[in-house]
C-alpha cells in the first residue's frame, strides 16, 4: 500500500522551506515599528554593580530606553514564578533583579533603539562601575567543597552501593584506577537565541521565541509578567538548533518582553555569539573510575565517582555515573555524583547530559582494563554483558546490544585489528582502531495532540512540541498519514505554538515516543468516527466488520481480509454530512507497565583514526555506529540524528573546550574561531547501522528515541583508537595534539640528534 509511511526514508516535509530561505526563525519577524534591544553584559564574575551611567547612550537620537536593575518595570516577586518546566533546585536566575553579579556575562543593561546598529553602538557607551569580590571559577580548586546535590526532578540520583566495592577492588587481580577530566562545553547552535515580541493593538503579545518548548516559555512569560494565558501567544515554528540550550527560557525572552511592555511597542532582542557563552553550558566534570577484574576479565568491582560544577544559585546535576551500574554485570558497585558551587551561570542539559561524560570515562577505563588484561576490548564487554539491569534489578524491555557488537564489528572489520598499540600503519602514519559502548534512557511523557480531517480528506494535526532539526515535523506527518491511510501530501503537522495541545519540551530523546503516541491516539479517534459512519452506509462493505478488521490505506477504508471492497474516506465524510471531524487526545504512558522494566537504547561504536606523529594531527577516518534504538520511523532522518551525534563525539574527543580565564572568571574563547567545533573537513566516513529491535513495552509504536544515543560513547571510541594508534592515553578532553605529543615524549626518551 502506498500510504505506509512509517519506516520509510521520507525526505523532510519542511525541506523546501529550509532550502529556499522561507523558514523563519525567532529573530526574523520584521514587523512595523520594531525596536531593537542589545544586551550589555557584566565584565566581572562576582560582586555588585556600583553605578551604571547610560547618559551617553540615552543622549543619542533614536535611543528609546536603557533598562537596568534600577528602572526595570516590576515583575513577579517570588522565585517560584521564575521556575520553568526544566528548572533545577535553587533560585532561578532573574535578570535585572538587583545589583548583584552572579557570573561573568550576566545581562546588566538592555539598550533599546530605533535601529539595530544604533542600539549596538549605544550599548558600547554604557559605562559601568563594579564593586568586585573575589570569585571562584576553577572546579579543581573546589574539590574539598564538594557536596551531594538535592535530587533533581526526572534525574534519579545514583543508587546506593551494592556488594563491597572497595574491598572487592582491593582484592582484584587486575586493577585500573584513573581520573578523567572533561571541560566545560557550549552548545553553540547556529541560530543565536532571539525573541521578537510583537505589541498587538489590544496590548496582547505575540512572541516568537527560540525555544525547545513553547508551553514552557509561554508559562514562564505568563508567570513572570503576571499575564493571563490568552494575553500571550508564543510561537516557535523553526528552531535553528538547540541541543538542550533551549530547554529553559533564556534571558533574552525576559528582556524582550520586559522592554515591549515598558515601551508599549514591538521589540526584538538577539544575543551575540559571545553572549551565547553566557547562557549555560555542559559542566566541567572530574571523574574517577576504578575497575577491578579477575584474570579472565570478569568485573569484580566498579567504582565511578564524579564531581561537577554548578552555579552559586542552582544545583544542576545530571546522570553521569548511573549508567555504569546498568551497562555491565558486576556484584560490587559504588557510584557517586557530587557538585561544587562556582561563580558561573548554571549549567544546562547538553546532548545526552551526563551520559556523554560518564560513558567517556567508563568506556575509556574499560579499554585500559582490556589492555591490562591482554584481552580484546570487544571480548571484555561481552564477558561482562548485562542480561538484566543489575542496578535496578529489572529486566530490559529489549536489548540488542550484542547484535550491535556483531554487526558493527563485521562492518568495521574489527577482526583484522592487531591488538598492540602502534602496530597498525598507513604509510608513515599511525592507525588506531577503538571501540566503545553507548547507553541512554527512553522516557515517554504525557503529551497532547489535536487533529482536524476535512471533507476533502485533508488532515491537520498539531501539538505544541518542537522541531529543532530532529525531524519532528516529518515523523509526525508520517505517523498521522499512515494512521488514516492518507497520502502524505494531504497531511500537515503543526507545532511550536502555545495554543496547541501541551507537549513536553523537546529533549531527552522523548519527543518521538511522547508526541508520536499522542498523534497516533488522536488519529485513532478519527478512525473510530469514520468507522461508525462507514458501517452505517447503505451496502457498506464494512457493515459487519469489527474495528480491528478495517484497514486505512490509499485514502480508503477496507477490510483487511479483502481490500478490494472499500469505501473512500471522502465518501464517508459526504455520507455522514461531515464538513470536518475534529478530535483531541491526551496520551499518557503506561507507567505501571513501563516501571517493571529498564528501558534503554544501546550502541556499539567503532572508530578509526590516523595520527601523523610529525605534525601531531589526528584524523577520524571512519566511525561505524550500530544502534539498537527500537523502531525506526524514518531511516533518513534517523541516520542524520545519529550522524549528528557522532560529529558531536568527534568534537568532544578532539576539539571542544570552553576555557575559563581564572583571573577574570570568564570564558575566553567565546567565539566560533576559538571554540572549535567540527567542520566539514573534520568529518569523513560515517556509517550508521540500525539493528532490528522490537519493543512492546516502551510504547505502542515501539519507539526509543534517537536524539542522544549517537554521541554517547563516541568520544571514548575515538580516544581508545588514539591510544591504539600511539600508545598514549590522554585522560583529559579534548585530545589535542599537544597532549598526544606530551604523552609520547613522556613514554619515550628523547633522542637528541648528534651534533653536526
Amino acid at each position: 500500500m502506498t500510504t505506509n509511511y512509517i519506516g520509510q526514508p521520507i525526505s523532510r516535509v519542511d525541506g523546501r522551506a529550509k532550502v529556499t530561505g522561507q523558514a523563519k526563525y525567532a529573530g526574523e519577524y520584521n514587523v512595523p515599528n520594531l525596536a531593537y534591544g542589545v544586551v550589555v553584559s557584566s565584565a566581572i564574575a562576582k560582586g555588585r554593580i556600583a553605578e551604571i551611567d547610560a547618559s551617553a547612550a540615552l543622549g543619542l537620537k533614536g535611543v528609546l530606553q536603557v533598562f537596568t536593575h534600577k528602572n526595570a518595570p516590576p515583575t513577579a516577586k517570588s522565585d517560584q514564578s521564575y521556575w520553568d518546566e526544566v528548572a533545577v533546585p535553587g533560585s532561578p536566575f532573574r535578570p535585572f533583579k538587583d545589583d548583584k553579579l552572579l557570573f561573568s556575562g550576566q545581562p546588566i543593561a538592555l539598550v533599546v533603539a530605533e535601529s539595530f546598529e544604533l542600539a549596538r553602538y549605544a550599548a558600547s557607551l554604557v559605562q559601568v562601575e563594579y564593586e568586585p569580590e573575589a570569585h571562584a571559577t576553577d572546579l579543581n580548586q573546589q574539590r574539598d567543597k564538594a557536596y551531594k546535590p538535592k535530587p533533581r526532578e526526572g534525574v534519579a540520583p545514583p543508587p546506593p552501593p551494592r556488594g563491597n566495592p572497595d574491598k572487592a577492588f582491593a582484592n582484584s587481580a587486575v586493577q585500573i584506577d584513573a581520573e578523567y577530566s572533561v571541560p566545560a562545553e557550549h552548545h553553540n547552535p547556529m541560530e543565536p537565541f532571539a525573541t521578537t515580541v510583537i505589541w498587538e493593538a489590544d496590548g496582547r503579545l505575540t512572541v516568537y521565541d527560540k525555544t525547545q518548548g513553547t508551553p514552557n516559555s509561554h508559562q514562564y512569560v505568563c508567570n513572570v509578567f503576571g499575564l493571563s494565558p490568552d494575553d500571550v501567544h508564543l510561537l516557535s515554528p523553526y528552531v535553528g538548533g538547540g541541543f538542550g540550550s533551549g530547554l529553559r527560557p533564556k534571558y533574552q525572552l525576559f528582556l524582550a518582553v520586559m522592554a515591549a511592555r515598558g515601551l508599549k511597542r514591538s521589540v526584538r532582542v538577539t544575543l551575540t555569539r559571545q553572549q551565547m557563552f553566557t547562557i549555560g553550558h555542559r559542566p566541567r566534570t572530574l571523574q574517577r573510575v576504578a575497575l577491578g577484574a579477575a584474570k579472565d576479565g570478569k568485573l569484580e568491582a566498579l567504582i565511578h565517582e564524579a564531581l561537577a560544577e554548578t552555579s552559586q544559585f542552582e544545583e544542576y546535576s545530571e546522570p553521569v555515573v548511573q549508567w555504569s551500574g546498568e551497562l555491565y554485570k558486576c556484584e560490587n558497585v559504588k557510584l557517586d555524583h557530587a557538585l561544587a558551587n562556582l561563580d558561573i551561570n548554571t549549567p544546562v542539559d547538553m546532548r545526552a547530559p551526563g551520559a556523554t561524560w560518564g560513558l567517556y570515562a567508563l568506556e575509556s577505563a574499560m579499554d585500559e582494563l582490556a589492555y591490562k588484561l591482554n584481552m580484546d576490548p570487544l571480548e571484555l564487554r561481552l564477558k561482562n554483558y548485562a542480561e538484566k539491569d543489575f542496578s535496578n534489578n529489572k529486566p530490559f524491555s529489549s536489548k540488542e546490544l550484542k547484535e550491535c557488537f556483531r554487526q558493527g564489528a563485521e562492518r568495521f572489520g574489527w577482526s583484522k585489528r592487531t591488538p598492540e598499540p602502534r602496530s597498525m600503519r598507513d604509510g608513515g602514519k599511525l592507525v588506531g582502531w577503538g571501540l566503545a559502548t553507548g547507553i541512554w534512557e527512553t522516557t515517554q511523557l504525557p503529551a497532547g495532540a489535536k487533529a482536524v480531517l476535512t471533507a476533502e480528506g485533508k488532515l491537520t494535526v498539531g501539538s505544541a512540541t518542537a522541531d529543532i532539526g530532529t525531524g519532528t515535523y516529518t515523523i509526525m506527518t508520517q505517523i498521522a498519514a499512515e494512521s488514516l491511510g492518507l497520502p502524505i501530501e494531504d497531511v500537515t503537522f503543526t507545532l511550536g505554538d502555545s495554543t496547541l495541545p501541551r507537549a513536553p519540551v523537546e529533549g531527552g530523546s522523548f519527543t518521538a515516543a511522547s508526541v508520536g503516541s499522542a498523534v497516533k491516539q488522536v488519529c485513532d479517534k478519527i478512525r473510530e468516527k469514520l468507522v461508525t459512519v462507514a458501517k452505517a452506509m447503505p451496502k457498506s462493505p464494512l457493515a459487519n466488520a469489527k474495528s480491528e478488521e478495517i484497514a486505512f490505506a490509499d485514502g480508503r477504508m477496507m477490510l483487511t481480509s479483502g481490500p478490494s471492497r472499500y469505501v473512500s474516506i471522502k465518501e464517508v465524510m459526504r455520507h455522514g454530512g461531515l464538513s470536518s471531524i475534529a478530535e483531541t487526545a491526551d496520551s499518557t504512558p503506561d507507567f505501571e507497565k513501563q516501571s517493571k522494566y529498564s528501558i534503554h537504547p544501546h550502541s556499539a561504536i567503532f572508530a578509526e583514526v590516523k595520527v601523523d606523529e610529525d605534525l601531531g594531527t589526528i584524523d577520524v577516518l571512519r566511525v561505524v555506529s550500530a544502534i539498537a534504538g527500537g523502531r525506526i520511523l524514518n531511516p533518513k532522518t534517523a541516520r542524520s540524528q545519529i550522524m549528528g551525534g557522532i560529529v558531536w563525539g568527534i568534537g568532544m574527543a578532539l576539539e571542544e573546550e570552553s576555557v575559563i580565564d581564572q583571573k577574570f572568571g570568564r570564558f575566553m574563547n567565546h567565539n566560533l574561531a576559538e571554540y572549535h567545533v567540527p567542520v566539514n573537513a573534520d568529518v569523513q566516513n560515517i556509517d550508521v547501522i540500525f539493528v532490528e529491535e522490537h519493543d512492546s513495552i516502551v510504547n505502542p509504536l515501539g519507539i526509543k528515541g534517537l536524539g542522544e544515543i549517537g554521541i554517547v560513547g563516541t568520544g571514548a571510541a575515538i580516544g581508545n583508537a588514539i591510544f591504539h594508534a600511539t600508545g598514549v592515553r590522554v585522560r583529559d578532553l579534548p585530545i589535542t595534539l599537544d597532549k598526544v605529543f606530551a604523552g609520547a615524549a613522556a613514554a619515550r626518551p628523547v633522542k637528541l640528534a648528534p651534533a653536526a
Binding site: 525541506g15 530561505g21 547556529m190 555569539r273 567565539n671
Partner: protein
Amino acid sequence: MAAGAIMRVEQNTQANTQTVSLPSSTKITLTINGVRRELQVEPWTTLLDLLRLNLDLTGTKKGCDHGQCGACTVLVDGKRINSCMTLAIMKDGSEVMTIEGLAQNGALHPLQQAFIEHDAFQCGYCTPGQICSAIGLMREGHATTADEIRESMSGNICRCGAYPNILAAIQQAMAHRRNVDRVAGERSVNPIANERSVNP
C-alpha cells in the same frame, strides 16, 4: 583587586565625549536576485543586516557576525562572501544573489533538490549559507574530489553535523551539472554554448 574597590570598565572611550555624531546615509545601487534597487544605506550597516533587516531577505542567516561560521554566505558578483564582514556601501553597483534568488519560477535549483534528497540539513539555519557557498565552490571549479570539497566547504559550520550529507548533495549537483554541460555540448555546434552559464 582589593574587595570593596571600584572598578570602571571602559567599553568605548567615545562615551566620554559630549557629542557623538551619528553617521548619515548614502545612496547605493545593488542588483539583488536580479532586481535593481536604489538604497539609502548608513556606512555602519553590513550587507547582512541590510538584507535581513532592511529588505526582509531573512534567508541569509547571522550565526556569529564575525566571519567565523559562514551562515551569512551570499554571492556577490558571482563569488561567495561572508556578508557579515562586508559593509553594504562597499558593494555599490554589485550583483548580489541570496538563497531567495536561487529557485527559478518555483522550480528548485538542482543543488536545493539534492540537499532535500540527501537530508543535508537538520535545523536548517546554516543551510542557505551552505547552499550559496556550494554554488560559489562549483563556479570556482577548484574542488573536484571529496577531500577538496570538504576542505573548500569548511568555512560553513553545520552544528547539526550534516557534513557527509552536504558533501553527497554537492557531489550530486556537480554530477548533474556535468551531465547538463555534456548534453549541451553534444547538441550545440557553437563552442560558446559549452561555456558554463553564469547563472547558477
